[in-house]
Amino acid sequence: MDRNYSRDLLKAIQKADRAGANAVVDAWAAGRSFHQVIPELLAPTLETFGKLWAQGSGGVSLATGYVASKVAEDVLSRLLLESASREAPALPAKGPVLVGNVEDDFHPLGRKMVAAFLRAAGWEVHDLGVDIGPEQFVDKAEETGARVIGASAMMFTTAKNVEKLREEIDRRGLRGRLQLAVGGAVFKLRPELVEAFGGDGTAASAAEAPALFERLWQQSLTFEPVSGEVRP
């Protein structure tokens, strides 16, 4: 009987067993092209994991989410190494998109997990780090051509700084064209703050960020391009 690798990978992640998860990936890759590991094994498994996380079921905790993001990073590192040796592109790139913690927020874990899940889903991610002011976010978006910013804040006090980012996006006439995804503990506890602070959307967990960014990216494309922009 064929082994159900996705189920085994999910089980290893749920047990926070990073080594076990990588062993499942290795077993899957034997006799296959490693370049297919993301679309055929990792992405569908992380999607299932994200649903369990959002439901709060299946023994999923913040720590298992962290392990899932580490497994995604492990796979991406191997993929990049293999691509370098073959001189072939690692992943079909989507994006670019930005992630960062808003001004005065110094809680990087959720943002790093989001970046890992986005990269595993094929997004080109520019991770700006912690304590990022609104001008820095929007300058970088204009410089890179990003259509989605992922802004992370853990607490109510720092989440209020999302409003400043919203104002900066609007001030530069980029509303709609530049979408604002917001996340962090406070938005999960108080989802009404997403709209109140000017976010265009949020995800129930880091693992669901790729679906959110996809939706916001498509939403952005319905707006007029800014002057000088060349659409792909």
Partner: protein, 341 residues
């Protein structure tokens, strides 16, 4: 009855003249006194003055030491800061891994200025309100200290992938926790309230809870010579209460806003206090009328439980919350009987 008698009655499951209540107004004291937030979280006399104003204006039955966990990180060498209108938060960690943190000296609970600040507020408040109002010393459990010293990511890394290092750091943090907790009680704190998030299955897998977290809490709490209240710390607590039941010295649980108090009591049985479950940070967005409705609902649910204390859940009540919203809680309590002594 005075506040202390009311809280003791709840602890013993005895009736009282009215339900006791607790407001997390550690930061809000500065709004009442007009003191700059920076001074409020640096000068024990100024902070204590804020709690006295809280007691004077709203009449809660329990008062708090500063809700300032960053001070515990600072004691290990982390750097804290933040905008002038907010309580400081950790901005740079003292070490980048559990193994590096093991090389840090243990803070001197009788000498470190940030720890002396916390302790002196307790001394001032307990002298002022001795025999009248319980003063609660706020702390974090030894499991929640490492995120203030090395950050949550490095701490998860140790807990999940290097359990021996994690256990060694917990042991070290336990020694500090016991020293500081004991000192706070000797300074006059009636009880300690603390988070134990890294023992919550919302944060870590069941295997870590059973293999590391719960045994660590048993060892640490068993050395504390006074009562402990476990705070939900922003995580859902009720679904995981069985993991905390029966821990030494634990006399109560403060659950998150909206959690089912009856389910909590079913899990715990009679004995521990249940505190909650008004959303403290959310009060700023409500009208006094809406707050009154929430209070009445919570009090009605709690009226079937003699060991219930109405309390704000979550983090500190934010500055800018209209005092009328807090007054609405006080009025609801008064309506439930007994007045505000």
């Amino acid at each position: 009855m005075n506040s202390l008698e009311r809280v003791l009655a709840a602890l013993q499951g005895q009736p009282s003249d009215r339900p006791p209540f607790l407001l997390n107004l550690s930061l809000y004291g500065s709004q009442l006194t007009g003191a700059p937030v920076k001074a409020h979280f640096a000068d024990p006399a100024i902070f204590a003055e804020g709690q006295m104003a809280v007691r004077e204006v709203f009449g809660p039955d329990l008062l708090l030491s500063p809700f300032l966990v960053s001070a515990l990180g600072e004691a290990f060498g982390s750097r804290a800061g933040g905008p002038p209108e907010q309580a400081p938060n950790v901005r740079a960690f003292a070490a980048d891994s559990a193994s590096a943190a093991l090389r840090l000296p243990l803070p001197d609970v009788d000498g470190h200025p940030r720890l002396l600040y916390l302790r002196e507020t307790i001394r001032i408040l307990s002298r002022k309100y001795e025999g009248e109002v319980p003063v609660i010393g706020l702390l974090v459990s030894p499991l929640d200290l490492p995120p203030l010293i090395i950050g949550l990511e490095a701490w998860l890394d140790a807990l999940l992938f290097r359990p021996d290092e994690a256990r060694a750091l917990i042991d070290r943090c336990t020694a500090f926790f016991v020293q500081l907790g004991t000192a706070m009680l000797q300074d006059g704190a009636t009880a300690l309230a603390l988070t134990a998030n890294l023992a919550n299955r919302f944060m870590v897998p069941a295997e870590v809870v059973a293999g590391i977290s719960r045994p660590a809490l048993e060892r640490a709490f068993g050395q504390i010579p006074g009562p402990i209240i476990v705070h939900h710390g922003g995580c859902p607590l009720v679904p995981h209460l069985a993991d905390f039941a029966g821990l030494p010295q634990v006399v109560g649980f403060l659950v998150d806003a909206g959690e089912d108090l009856a389910a909590a009591r079913t899990t715990l049985g009679p004995g521990p206090l249940l505190l909650g479950n008004l959303d403290g940070p959310g009060l700023a967005d409500l009208t006094p009328g809406q707050v009154r409705v929430l209070c009445e609902r919570a009090l009605a649910a709690g009226s079937r439980d003699p060991q219930f204390i109405l309390a704000t859940s979550g983090a500190d009540v934010p500055l800018g919350t209209p005092p009328e919203c807090l007054q609405a809680i006080t009025e609801s309590i008064c309506l439930a009987g007994g007045g505000l002594r």
